[in-house]
Symmetry: C2
Subunit: 129 residues, 2 copies
Amino acid sequence: MELVRWPLCRVLLMNDARYPWLILVPQRPGMREIFDLSEEDQARLLGETRRAARALAAYGHPDKLNVAALGNVVAQLHLHVIARFVGDEAWPRPVWGVHPARPYGEAARQERLTALRRLLGEGGEGGEG
Amino acid sequence: MELVRWPLCRVLLMNDARYPWLILVPQRPGMREIFDLSEEDQARLLGETRRAARALAAYGHPDKLNVAALGNVVAQLHLHVIARFVGDEAWPRPVWGVHPARPYGEAARQERLTALRRLLGEGGEGGEG
């Protein structure tokens, strides 16, 4: 579910209602590692990740953010930015592989998309915010 | 096990012989999130992570790098940079929580420390490499 498109990344919402979970996908085909990107794009990715992290921090005030580039299963470079809460289903473990995803119901999905789109739209242009 | 100390980060070797696994610890007490750092330090962290990733890429030519800032258990900001191989014990899952760590034997530990220290010492100064 695409939330917004920034100069470098498409920002997607993971379809798992347990965690506010963003995925940033740099629009650079064939890239697998962060460090395959040009240094200019790496700096851009850092800026856009910062912007995504700020939106998640403003959304529900999580106890911790998890930021990760894994890509063992899906090869195309992508970055996870996940809001974690003490007592969430996987806490304190990482979220991957703990239990199957719990897809959003339609109302919850719409509510979260709307709130996150608003927050992701704030804070400057071009990932510089 | 400290491998090297860069301008921002101490670089540690995780005591788990299954994966070449570095941990970068920014020498900034009290920081929990990447985005708690100043933007200057964030850029420095990116540069030092790139340098660590290049060293791991040169060490054994992994199939994938995993880069993650989780910190759910240990609060002090740290970044994992892990060399992954198709067929390693956790593949394709993330490494955390799959099985208990397998500590290095003394000879293997010394060999890996020596090889990684050499590679981490290459590629420029100050995380700009």
